[in-house]
């Protein structure tokens, strides 16, 4: 019964059941905006390349952390201490994550250690696809967010989700939805070689032309649908261009994408799911340590960008309606390689951030001693073994935040033993 009530609330609060076609009357757009402004948003943050979780959340009292990483270990004196986990392991954030420390201290950052799945793929592509399908047995087919979007009342708003990256991701693949990929709202406008009435003739002709391919020409219809969705969303996306943020965001792609998301949330254009990615995490070399190097820069980008977004939302009273969840396709090898880097590993790290998040440290850190009977390691002590099934985190987001039925979306019941971060 609880699910049913939540579902009803969701329909009330959500971007509901009508299509905002190009010709949608203005009052419908207004309703969507009004509804969007109070609905819950999910911002998925993907760290592309396989984040080295042991450098993000440092087990600074584990002697093997230092003996196995002589060049790249973050010195204990420099970590930003966040206390101990349930197993008594002392943990610290990477020193460049001052932004996340602020959020942690406000009780709004949940750190979920050793998230992953059995027999973790060491391939970027298969791994990313598995995190997308939410099915370790299959890296093909639809994604968990795509299936969630498919489950929304039909017809589904073409802007129900917004991918701020130029790439497409398995997680966003659905059967009946296609998620618009919009990297910069400033480029999202209709150009014409003509002006005035002639440009309008042309735009109307383009819309009609794109509407004519029926299901008997599915490939053409697919392309035309992209065009139609562009026409249908131009005005709402365009409204984000005028957004005035309450804080200054760092000048990098990740932070600017978050700024766009904040603008979209603030303008209430109706989008519920956002996808933001930041790359460079495939740190086979040049990872550096606390003082500098590639990984420290990644941490600054991550922490500073998220803090700006967090503050911007908080200033506008929008933090309680927004949740970020972060993942990466795998963690990295425990022992460093000869390039001041780390190779592909297994269990990784997830984080959840937002007004509705119950902050803290979930799960237990691995013991990095490569003795044969160490249950927290695998691959001859080379890699961290997962502890929390990533699908239990998805389930919590789907049930507890998006108000849907995770069992249906995930094709199984993963609610048991999931971290209670909502």
């Amino acid at each position: 019964m609880a699910t049913k009530v939540t579902r009803r609330e969701f329909i009330r609060d959500g971007v509901a059941a009508f299509t905002l076609s190009f010709a949608a009357p203005a009052f419908l757009v207004d309703i969507a905006r009004a509804q969007g402004a109070v609905s819950r948003n999910l911002v998925v943050i993907y760290l592309a390349g396989g984040n080295d979780a042991l450098s993000t959340i440092v087990p600074y009292n584990d002697p093997f952390y230092y003996s196995r990483r002589p060049a790249i270990a973050v010195p204990a004196a420099q970590v930003l201490q966040i206390g101990t986990d349930g197993s008594g392991k002392a943990l610290g954030l990477h020193p460049r994550l001052t932004g996340l420390q602020t959020i942690f201290n406000q009780g709004k950052l949940a750190i979920i250690q050793r998230a992953g799945y059995q027999n973790s793929s060491r391939s970027h592509f298969q791994g990313t696809d598995i995190w997308g399908t939410a099915d370790p047995a299959s890296s093909a087919g639809t994604g968990w967010l795509g299936r969630y979007l498919d489950s929304l009342p039909s017809p589904i708003d073409p802007l129900a989700a917004w991918n701020t990256s130029g790439a497409t991701y398995r997680a966003l693949t659905g059967n009946s939805i296609s998620v618009p990929s919009i990297t910069d709202p400033r480029n999202y406008s209709f150009a014409s070689p003509n002006t005035g009435a002639e440009a309008i003739n042309e735009r109307n002709a383009a819309i009609r032309l794109a509407s004519l391919a029926g299901p008997e020409r599915p490939n053409l219809a697919f392309v035309n649908t992209s065009a139609m969705e562009a026409f249908a969303t131009l005005d709402r996306v365009g409204s984000v261009v005028s957004y005035q943020s309450t804080v200054t965001y760092p000048n990098n792609g990740f932070a600017q994408a978050l700024r766009t998301v904040a603008g979209s949330i603030s303008k209430g254009i109706g989008t519920r799911v956002y996808w933001v990615q930041t790359g460079g995490f495939d740190t086979h070399s040049g990872q550096g340590n606390a003082g500098g190097g590639g990984y420290a820069n990644l941490m600054s980008t991550l922490g500073d960008g998220i803090l700006a977004f967090y503050n911007d939302l908080q200033n506008q009273g929008l933090l309680n309606s927004t949740m970020m969840i972060q993942f990466s396709e795998f963690g990295r090898r425990i022992s460093e390689n000869g390039s001041q880097g780390t190779d592909h590993g297994a269990g990784g790290l997830m984080m959840a951030i937002g007004g509705g998040v119950r902050g803290g440290i979930y799960g237990s850190a691995a013991d990095l001693n490569p003795r044969p009977d160490n249950p927290t390691l695998e691959n001859a002590g080379g890699d961290v073994t997962y502890e929390t099934d990533f699908r239990s985190v998805y389930a919590k987001v789907l049930d507890g935040w998006l108000g849907t039925n995770s069992t249906a979306i995930l094709g199984g019941d993963f609610r048991a033993n999931g971290p209670a971060f909502i």
Partner: protein, 485 residues
């Protein structure tokens, strides 16, 4: 531009980038097999395209100081686009693009490691333009139809690859797995044919495949470069055991440090020659040349793999087979592939015209369409097919069509004879002849004609042509039909 021969048009789109009116003249009177030979035996055509840069009658480049495509990445992008528009060896550029996607080396990581100047050289230096080896793309271009085994060895020793997949830091004390993994997962036979332990062994196989730095006088000295060396002192000479046979044994034997480079040559040879690699390449070639609407026909995969193995991995033989095969020439596969952004942009320029247009104006639109040259999203290359058509990317295509149509407004308007101008349907037919989209259905043609007649009776006046010709060109090039090749 349509030739009137649909099979030739198909060949021009797939093995090349479509045809301008001038391009078509080279093919008039040629039989189909002669046309295929023209593409495949491209060395018979002069490699003189670079000498045309900056000349009138060719698409422009935009210079910011001296045009320096070997040392400035934006200029390198312009040169590649220029070549795609004007090359007399279209298949060479087409295969360079195919290999660029296959090997997935991105400029940003390379430049982040070695700086913008040396990084650009690693991607795009033309041998002789500045000191040091040719860049990654030049290598792909020079070896576009060579034996795949030779190409793979050259790529494994290519400085850009040695930076991109970190081989430069692969040492015997601490082997580096990045290249060892991807050479199997992505460059050759793919997941399912090897184990994690094979990856670790492959990393050791390539220890010592490093770079030598030849610094310049200062950070801006174009003489600086890096080149491949086999660093015997850093090679792991111990035996490596794999789950598959390399040169006749599952164990690569202990070798002296001096002879240790043979480990990597043997492994690459095994991988390149393997029938599973042949099949994987055949599937990628199906998607590139035949169709990405339909899954590869197993009979095609086996036939192409067979040619590949019998021809000792020679890609020229493979391509000649494909382009004359019943699969390629089947009219059902015409327009059965989603155009890559670079293909879309280049064909639009070739067909709409380029007078007064700079390829520099295509760089940002290409990024918005999802394909920045020299910057694939990762080592697996771009996501192809439908993945090109996010709403933002489709909008970028439509807007590029609008930008170019606007730029070519008067050329488009004046390209019609008085007889053609007299009737709107003749203008429409002429534009459909010029912009070779997949065939429009009758109701779509009616819609295009309605656009010409919208806003006032058709007169064919200069003012009307100046508005309607670019508007129509933009509608066609921005249509769904035009997004297929």
């Amino acid at each position: 531009m349509q030739s009137g021969n649909p099979l030739l048009d198909h060949l021009l789109r797939r093995a090349g980038f479509g045809a301008s009116a001038a391009d078509l003249q080279a093919f008039s009177g040629l039989s189909y097999s002669a046309a295929v030979d023209y593409f495949v035996d491209f060395e018979k055509q002069p490699d003189d395209v670079d000498s045309k840069i900056g000349l009138p009658d060719y698409v422009s480049v935009t210079t910011r100081g001296p045009f320096s495509p070997s040392t400035n990445i934006e200029d390198a992008r312009q040169r590649w686009l220029f070549r795609m528009v004007h090359t007399r060896r279209p298949l060479q550029e087409k295969m360079a693009l195919f290999w660029h996607n296959h090997f997935g080396v991105g400029y940003s990581k390379v430049a982040g490691a070695v700086g913008a100047l040396v990084g650009t050289k690693m991607m795009a230096n033309v041998a002789g333009e500045t000191p040091g080896p040719q860049g990654h793309y030049e290598l792909l271009r020079q070896m576009a139809v060579s034996k795949f085994r030779d190409l793979l060895i050259a790529v494994a020793q290519d400085p850009a690859m040695l930076v991109f997949l970190d081989g430069r830091t692969n040492t015997k004390a601490k082997p580096q797995e990045n290249f060892g993994r991807e050479v199997m997962e992505l460059f050759t036979w793919g997941l399912g044919h090897y184990t994690e332990n094979d990856v670790y062994a492959a990393a050791r196989v390539f220890t010592g495949w490093n770079l030598r730095n030849v610094p310049g006088a200062n950070g801006n000295d174009p003489a600086a470069y890096q080149e491949f060396i086999y660093n015997a002192a850093q090679h792991d000479t111990t035996a490596k055991t794999l789950t598959f046979s390399v040169a006749g044994s599952n164990t690569i034997p202990v070798r002296t440090a001096a002879a240790g480079i043979q480990d990597g040559i043997d492994l690459i040879t095994t991988l390149a020659n393997h029938p599973e690699t042949a099949r994987r390449l055949a599937r990628k070639l199906w998607n590139f040349f035949v169709s990405d609407l339909d899954a590869p026909d197993p009979a095609f995969v086996e036939a192409v793999a067979d040619v590949y193995v019998r021809a000792d991995t020679d890609m020229r033989a493979v391509l000649r087979y494909i382009l004359t095969s019943r699969w390629f020439t089947n009219p059902g596969n015409f327009n059965a592939r989603y155009a890559w952004p670079a293909e879309f942009v280049v064909r639009t320029i070739k067909e709409m015209g380029w007078t007064g247009f700079s390829v520099d104006s295509a760089r940002v639109p290409l990024t918005n369409m999802g394909q920045t040259l020299f910057e694939p999203p990762n080592v697996a290359g771009w996501q192809l097919g439908r993945a090109w058509f996010g709403t933002g990317a489709m909008l970028a295509r439509m807007n590029f069509a609008a930008t170019l149509a606007s730029n070519q407004k008067f050329n488009l308007a004046r390209s019609f004879s008085a007889t053609e101008r007299a009737q709107a349907d003749r203008v429409l037919n002429g534009m459909l002849q010029r912009l070779a989209a997949a065939p429009f259905a009758a109701n779509e043609t009616t819609e295009l004609l309605a656009y010409l007649n919208a806003g006032g009776a058709w007169t064919g006046s200069d003012a009307q042509m100046n508005a309607k010709a670019p508007g129509l060109a933009r509608l066609i090039a921005g249509s769904g039909e035009y997004q297929f090749v």
